[in-house]
Protein backbone atom coordinates (compact mmCIF):
# COMPACT_ATOMS: atom_id res chain seq x y z
CA UNK A 1 0.00 0.00 0.00
CA UNK A 2 1.30 3.47 -0.89
CA UNK A 3 2.08 6.08 1.77
CA UNK A 4 -0.75 8.54 0.98
CA UNK A 5 -3.61 6.04 1.53
CA UNK A 6 -1.93 4.87 4.76
CA UNK A 7 -1.70 8.45 6.05
CA UNK A 8 -5.31 9.13 5.05
CA UNK A 9 -6.51 5.97 6.84
CA UNK A 10 -4.56 6.99 9.97
CA UNK A 11 -6.12 10.47 9.89
CA UNK A 12 -9.58 8.95 9.40
CA UNK A 13 -9.22 6.62 12.40
CA UNK A 14 -8.02 9.58 14.51
CA UNK A 15 -10.92 11.75 13.27
CA UNK A 16 -13.47 9.02 14.04
CA UNK A 17 -12.09 8.60 17.58
CA UNK A 18 -12.05 12.36 18.19
CA UNK A 19 -15.56 12.74 16.72
CA UNK A 20 -16.88 10.01 19.06
CA UNK A 21 -15.23 11.81 21.99
CA UNK A 22 -16.87 15.06 20.89
CA UNK A 23 -20.29 13.38 20.65
CA UNK A 24 -20.14 11.38 23.88
CA UNK A 25 -18.14 13.68 26.18
CA UNK A 26 -17.84 17.24 24.88
CA UNK A 27 -21.38 17.76 23.51
CA UNK A 28 -23.81 19.12 26.10
CA UNK A 29 -26.56 16.88 27.47
CA UNK A 30 -29.87 17.92 25.94
CA UNK A 31 -32.33 19.13 28.60
CA UNK A 32 -35.50 17.20 27.69
CA UNK A 33 -34.16 14.03 26.03
CA UNK A 34 -30.96 13.49 28.01
CA UNK A 35 -28.15 11.28 26.69
CA UNK A 36 -30.25 9.60 24.01
CA UNK A 37 -30.08 12.84 22.01
CA UNK A 38 -26.38 12.06 21.37
CA UNK A 39 -27.56 9.54 18.74
CA UNK A 40 -28.12 12.71 16.65
CA UNK A 41 -24.32 12.99 16.17
CA UNK A 42 -24.23 9.63 14.36
CA UNK A 43 -27.68 9.70 12.77
CA UNK A 44 -27.50 13.11 11.04
CA UNK A 45 -23.90 12.88 9.70
CA UNK A 46 -24.69 9.39 8.37
CA UNK A 47 -27.72 10.83 6.54
CA UNK A 48 -25.71 13.74 5.10
CA UNK A 49 -22.96 11.35 3.96
CA UNK A 50 -25.53 9.05 2.32
CA UNK A 51 -27.08 12.04 0.49
CA UNK A 52 -23.64 13.14 -0.69
CA UNK A 53 -22.83 9.64 -1.96
CA UNK A 54 -26.15 9.40 -3.81
CA UNK A 55 -25.42 12.80 -5.38
CA UNK A 56 -22.02 11.57 -6.62
CA UNK A 57 -23.78 8.43 -7.88
CA UNK A 58 -26.21 10.66 -9.79
CA UNK A 59 -23.35 12.69 -11.34
CA UNK A 60 -21.34 9.57 -12.25
CA UNK A 61 -24.44 7.98 -13.81
CA UNK A 62 -25.07 11.12 -15.87
CA UNK A 63 -21.44 11.06 -17.06
CA UNK A 64 -21.80 7.37 -17.96
CA UNK A 65 -24.99 8.03 -19.96
CA UNK A 66 -23.27 10.87 -21.78
CA UNK A 67 -19.78 9.45 -22.40
CA UNK A 68 -20.20 5.67 -21.80
CA UNK A 69 -17.17 5.95 -19.53
CA UNK A 70 -16.58 2.69 -17.58
CA UNK A 71 -14.69 4.53 -14.81
CA UNK A 72 -17.79 6.70 -14.20
CA UNK A 73 -19.88 3.51 -14.05
CA UNK A 74 -17.49 2.06 -11.46
CA UNK A 75 -17.75 5.26 -9.38
CA UNK A 76 -21.56 5.00 -9.59
CA UNK A 77 -21.51 1.38 -8.42
CA UNK A 78 -19.15 2.19 -5.54
CA UNK A 79 -21.02 5.27 -4.28
CA UNK A 80 -24.41 3.53 -4.43
CA UNK A 81 -23.19 0.59 -2.33
CA UNK A 82 -21.47 2.73 0.30
CA UNK A 83 -24.48 5.09 0.28
CA UNK A 84 -26.77 2.16 1.09
CA UNK A 85 -24.53 1.25 4.05
CA UNK A 86 -24.81 4.80 5.47
CA UNK A 87 -28.55 4.92 4.74
CA UNK A 88 -28.94 1.61 6.63
CA UNK A 89 -27.24 3.24 9.64
CA UNK A 90 -29.76 6.11 9.40
CA UNK A 91 -32.73 3.75 9.21
CA UNK A 92 -31.58 1.75 12.25
CA UNK A 93 -30.30 4.53 14.55
CA UNK A 94 -33.49 6.56 13.94
CA UNK A 95 -35.87 3.99 15.46
CA UNK A 96 -33.40 3.30 18.32
CA UNK A 97 -33.64 7.03 19.16
CA UNK A 98 -37.42 7.10 18.58
CA UNK A 99 -38.33 4.28 20.99
CA UNK A 100 -37.38 6.08 24.26
CA UNK A 101 -38.35 9.54 22.94
CA UNK A 102 -41.63 8.88 21.06
CA UNK A 103 -42.53 5.56 22.70
CA UNK A 104 -42.66 3.87 19.28
CA UNK A 105 -40.02 2.43 16.95
CA UNK A 106 -41.53 3.58 13.68
CA UNK A 107 -44.34 5.62 12.18
CA UNK A 108 -45.30 6.03 8.56
CA UNK A 109 -44.74 9.78 8.44
CA UNK A 110 -43.41 11.51 5.32
CA UNK A 111 -39.73 11.73 6.38
CA UNK A 112 -39.42 8.13 7.55
CA UNK A 113 -41.37 6.70 4.63
CA UNK A 114 -39.46 8.61 1.94
CA UNK A 115 -36.15 7.60 3.57
CA UNK A 116 -37.20 3.95 3.49
CA UNK A 117 -38.21 4.38 -0.18
CA UNK A 118 -34.78 5.95 -0.87
CA UNK A 119 -33.05 2.92 0.68
CA UNK A 120 -35.25 0.55 -1.35
CA UNK A 121 -34.47 2.44 -4.59
CA UNK A 122 -30.71 2.08 -4.11
CA UNK A 123 -31.01 -1.54 -2.93
CA UNK A 124 -32.94 -2.18 -6.18
CA UNK A 125 -30.11 -0.45 -8.05
CA UNK A 126 -27.57 -2.82 -6.45
CA UNK A 127 -29.77 -5.87 -7.13
CA UNK A 128 -30.07 -4.79 -10.77
CA UNK A 129 -26.30 -4.46 -11.08
CA UNK A 130 -25.69 -7.78 -9.31
CA UNK A 131 -28.16 -10.03 -11.12
CA UNK A 132 -28.66 -8.49 -14.56
CA UNK A 133 -26.38 -10.25 -17.05
CA UNK A 134 -27.09 -8.39 -20.29
CA UNK A 135 -24.80 -5.87 -21.94
CA UNK A 136 -27.21 -3.06 -21.03
CA UNK A 137 -26.82 -3.46 -17.24
CA UNK A 138 -24.72 -0.32 -16.72
CA UNK A 139 -27.08 1.69 -18.93
CA UNK A 140 -30.20 0.52 -17.08
CA UNK A 141 -28.51 1.12 -13.71
CA UNK A 142 -27.53 4.66 -14.74
CA UNK A 143 -31.10 5.42 -15.83
CA UNK A 144 -32.48 4.04 -12.54
CA UNK A 145 -29.97 6.16 -10.63
CA UNK A 146 -31.06 9.37 -12.40
CA UNK A 147 -34.73 8.73 -11.53
CA UNK A 148 -33.90 7.40 -8.06
CA UNK A 149 -32.00 10.52 -7.07
CA UNK A 150 -35.24 12.53 -7.32
CA UNK A 151 -36.13 11.07 -3.90
CA UNK A 152 -33.11 12.70 -2.18
CA UNK A 153 -34.42 16.32 -2.28
CA UNK A 154 -37.89 14.97 -1.43
CA UNK A 155 -36.50 13.30 1.73
CA UNK A 156 -34.71 16.56 2.62
CA UNK A 157 -37.81 18.71 2.10
CA UNK A 158 -40.45 16.46 3.75
CA UNK A 159 -39.99 18.01 7.20
CA UNK A 160 -40.44 21.45 5.61
CA UNK A 161 -43.44 20.54 3.42
CA UNK A 162 -45.40 18.34 5.87
CA UNK A 163 -46.19 18.15 9.56
CA UNK A 164 -44.29 15.05 10.59
CA UNK A 165 -43.61 13.02 13.71
CA UNK A 166 -39.92 13.42 12.82
CA UNK A 167 -38.46 16.56 14.47
CA UNK A 168 -38.75 19.71 12.38
CA UNK A 169 -35.49 21.06 10.91
CA UNK A 170 -32.99 22.49 13.38
CA UNK A 171 -30.64 23.51 10.60
CA UNK A 172 -31.91 25.91 7.96
CA UNK A 173 -35.41 25.62 9.38
CA UNK A 174 -36.31 29.26 9.79
CA UNK A 175 -36.25 31.84 12.59
CA UNK A 176 -37.71 29.57 15.32
CA UNK A 177 -35.22 26.78 14.75
CA UNK A 178 -31.52 26.44 15.36
CA UNK A 179 -28.86 24.32 16.91
CA UNK A 180 -27.14 25.35 20.14
CA UNK A 181 -23.66 26.68 19.17
CA UNK A 182 -21.99 24.09 21.44
CA UNK A 183 -23.61 21.28 19.42
CA UNK A 184 -22.08 22.37 16.11
CA UNK A 185 -18.46 21.11 16.66
CA UNK A 186 -19.51 17.52 17.57
CA UNK A 187 -21.91 17.46 14.63
CA UNK A 188 -19.35 18.78 12.11
CA UNK A 189 -16.53 16.59 13.46
CA UNK A 190 -18.70 13.51 13.03
CA UNK A 191 -19.70 14.54 9.51
CA UNK A 192 -16.05 15.11 8.59
CA UNK A 193 -15.00 11.75 10.07
CA UNK A 194 -17.85 9.85 8.36
CA UNK A 195 -17.10 11.59 5.06
CA UNK A 196 -13.45 10.53 5.32
CA UNK A 197 -14.55 6.96 6.07
CA UNK A 198 -16.87 7.10 3.05
CA UNK A 199 -13.99 8.22 0.81
CA UNK A 200 -11.93 5.18 1.89
CA UNK A 201 -14.83 2.77 1.40
CA UNK A 202 -15.65 4.21 -2.04
CA UNK A 203 -11.98 4.01 -3.08
CA UNK A 204 -11.79 0.35 -2.04
CA UNK A 205 -15.13 -0.50 -3.65
CA UNK A 206 -14.08 1.31 -6.86
CA UNK A 207 -10.91 -0.77 -7.01
CA UNK A 208 -12.94 -3.95 -6.52
CA UNK A 209 -15.27 -2.95 -9.35
CA UNK A 210 -12.31 -2.46 -11.70
CA UNK A 211 -10.83 -5.80 -10.57
CA UNK A 212 -14.17 -7.52 -11.29
CA UNK A 213 -14.23 -6.02 -14.78
CA UNK A 214 -10.66 -7.20 -15.33
CA UNK A 215 -11.48 -10.74 -14.14
CA UNK A 216 -14.55 -10.86 -16.40
CA UNK A 217 -12.44 -9.81 -19.39
CA UNK A 218 -9.82 -12.43 -18.60
CA UNK A 219 -12.53 -15.11 -18.29
CA UNK A 220 -13.82 -14.08 -21.71
CA UNK A 221 -10.31 -14.30 -23.19
CA UNK A 222 -9.74 -17.75 -21.68
CA UNK A 223 -13.12 -18.93 -22.98
CA UNK A 224 -12.29 -17.55 -26.45
CA UNK A 225 -8.94 -19.34 -26.52
CA UNK A 226 -10.60 -22.55 -25.39
CA UNK A 227 -13.21 -22.17 -28.11
CA UNK A 228 -10.72 -21.60 -30.92
CA UNK A 229 -8.17 -24.21 -29.81
Amino acid sequence: MKLLPKVFIAFTVAALAYAAYQALVVAPTEQTMGNVQRIFYYHVPSAWTAFLLFFVNFLASAVYLWKRNTAADAVAAATAEVGVVFCTVVLITGPIWARPVWGIWWTWDARLTTTLVLWLIYVSYLVLRRYSTGSQTALLAAALSIFGFVDVPIVYMTIRWFRTQHPSPVIGGGSNSGLDPSMWPPLLWNWLAFSMLAIILVAVRYRLQRMEEDVEQQHAQVALRGGTA
Binding site: M33, V36, H43, V85, T88, I92, L201, V215, V222
Partner: protein, 45 residues
Protein backbone atom coordinates in the same frame (compact mmCIF):
# COMPACT_ATOMS: atom_id res chain seq x y z
CA UNK B 1 -35.73 1.11 26.13
CA UNK B 2 -33.91 3.56 28.41
CA UNK B 3 -31.98 6.50 26.96
CA UNK B 4 -28.49 5.33 27.90
CA UNK B 5 -29.16 1.82 26.60
CA UNK B 6 -30.50 3.28 23.33
CA UNK B 7 -27.41 5.46 22.97
CA UNK B 8 -25.07 2.50 23.42
CA UNK B 9 -27.18 0.35 21.08
CA UNK B 10 -27.14 3.02 18.35
CA UNK B 11 -23.37 3.48 18.48
CA UNK B 12 -22.70 -0.27 18.60
CA UNK B 13 -25.11 -0.98 15.72
CA UNK B 14 -23.46 1.76 13.62
CA UNK B 15 -20.04 0.17 14.02
CA UNK B 16 -21.31 -3.37 13.54
CA UNK B 17 -22.79 -2.28 10.18
CA UNK B 18 -19.66 -0.39 9.10
CA UNK B 19 -17.22 -3.12 10.21
CA UNK B 20 -19.35 -5.86 8.62
CA UNK B 21 -19.25 -3.96 5.35
CA UNK B 22 -15.46 -3.60 5.62
CA UNK B 23 -15.21 -7.35 6.25
CA UNK B 24 -17.39 -8.02 3.22
CA UNK B 25 -15.16 -5.80 1.04
CA UNK B 26 -12.05 -7.55 2.33
CA UNK B 27 -13.43 -11.05 1.62
CA UNK B 28 -14.48 -9.93 -1.87
CA UNK B 29 -10.99 -8.48 -2.47
CA UNK B 30 -9.33 -11.74 -1.42
CA UNK B 31 -11.64 -13.83 -3.62
CA UNK B 32 -10.95 -11.62 -6.66
CA UNK B 33 -7.21 -11.68 -6.07
CA UNK B 34 -7.28 -15.50 -5.95
CA UNK B 35 -9.35 -15.57 -9.12
CA UNK B 36 -6.87 -13.25 -10.85
CA UNK B 37 -3.98 -15.55 -9.84
CA UNK B 38 -5.85 -18.63 -11.12
CA UNK B 39 -6.58 -16.91 -14.42
CA UNK B 40 -2.96 -15.87 -14.85
CA UNK B 41 -1.92 -19.48 -14.23
CA UNK B 42 -4.52 -20.72 -16.71
CA UNK B 43 -3.37 -18.24 -19.37
CA UNK B 44 0.27 -19.22 -18.69
CA UNK B 45 -0.51 -22.88 -19.33
Amino acid sequence: MKGDVALKAAYIVTWVIQLSYMGYLWSRFRRLREEQKDLKREVGL
